[in-house]
């Protein structure tokens, strides 16, 4: 079972709640995913209009724990403020920490991420930082007290799948004492399965489900892919060989002539 900061999760799939066509579609996808946690963003209340139902209603009814994020923050200071507000609104110590360094790629700002991680860990947060697939940064985040490391597979929302399997493998081999949750870039079920077969502890995704033609069906596909990928990892795959090896006995074959 996946354990983060002493808390046990029944699933290894984490999903976002952005970009769904409607709250009802989000609800169905959420239920179908069986997600361990769902991310939400912290934003100013729009005082000019009255809301009709919110994503929080949907999440609370589904009974899934929320994971506030600091998406859209470009400095450690913004991210720390947002994390504090998220904790007050959601009464959870967990935070998905994002400090973005570039608007076009949404790649993380390593300096800001480390700085914000240190501050929030000191304040008692369970910090899950979204980071690039850089082993050195991951080690620094671990040393700063992060509860997990969440490397990207590809840019956020790109659906490109794992673009740098070597970096991811190195990260998974070298960081054994913290959960590694691949966050961002998963486009379809096989991407998620491959990540899990490589030994990742979990996957976080949003657009891959929310942007699919049928989000509910894709949510189920992702759930199954993550379960099968994990099972395959635990089972241990066979070594790859270039030539064929017969599966049936080579003795006792009925032959003509001899």
């Amino acid at each position: 079972m996946l354990t983060i900061a002493g808390r046990i999760f029944p699933s290894r799939l984490f999903i976002g709640t952005g970009k769904y066509p409607s709250l009802e579609v989000a609800r169905r996808a959420l239920v179908a995913s069986g997600a361990a946690m769902v991310t939400v963003a912290v934003r100013r209340v729009d005082l000019t209009q009255k809301g009709e139902g919110s994503i929080l209603d949907v999440i609370e009814k589904a009974g899934v724990p929320i994971l506030p994020n600091t998406a859209g923050c470009y400095t450690a200071d913004e991210a720390v403020r947002t994390a504090r507000l998220g904790r007050e609104a959601g009464l959870s110590e967990f935070v998905k920490l994002e400090v973005i360094g570039d608007p076009k790629t949404l790649f993380p700002d390593n300096d800001g991420l480390l700085q914000a991680t240190r501050i929030l860990v000191q304040e008692g947060f369970v910090v899950l930082p979204y980071t690039n697939d850089d082993l050195v940064v991951a080690k620094r985040l671990r040393d700063a007290g992060a509860a997990a490391v969440m490397p990207l597979a590809a840019p956020i929302g790109s659906g490109l799948g794992i673009q740098n399997p070597v970096n991811l493998r190195l990260l998974l081999e070298e960081i054994q004492d913290l959960p590694i949750i691949v966050d961002a870039g998963v486009g379809t079920a096989s991407d998620a399965a491959i990540v899990m077969e490589m030994g990742a502890d979990g996957v976080l995704m949003n657009t891959g489900i929310a942007g699919a033609g049928d989000p509910e069906k894709m949510a189920r596909a992702m759930r199954l892919a993550i379960e099968s990928g994990r099972l395959a990892f635990e089972a241990g795959r066979i070594p790859k060989k270039l030539y064929a090896t017969a599966s049936s006995p080579v003795e006792g074959v009925v032959r003509s002539g001899a």
Partner: protein, 69 residues
């Protein structure tokens, strides 16, 4: 008594003199359970809403959760 001017979510707003955070939220029709309030850069804990009085020039942020990744 004249109204106080504060900045609320980035916009100027007038509130009654001595208004508390609880009164502000009430006036906005917002239930305090699912949001968070920051006053001059510091989070105001929910139990303190009835006690914390706003002051002229305060910068207040009222936030909640929206869908996001």
């Amino acid at each position: 008594m004249t109204a106080m001017r504060i900045t609320l979510n980035g916009r100027d707003r007038e509130v009654a003199p001595g208004a508390t955070v609880a009164a502000l939220l009430d006036g906005l029709g917002l239930a305090p359970s699912r949001l968070a309030v920051e006053r001059n850069g510091r989070v105001v804990p929910k139990p303190d809403y009835p006690a914390v009085a706003l002051a002229e020039g305060d910068v207040v942020e009222v936030v909640h959760f929206v869908g996001g990744g």
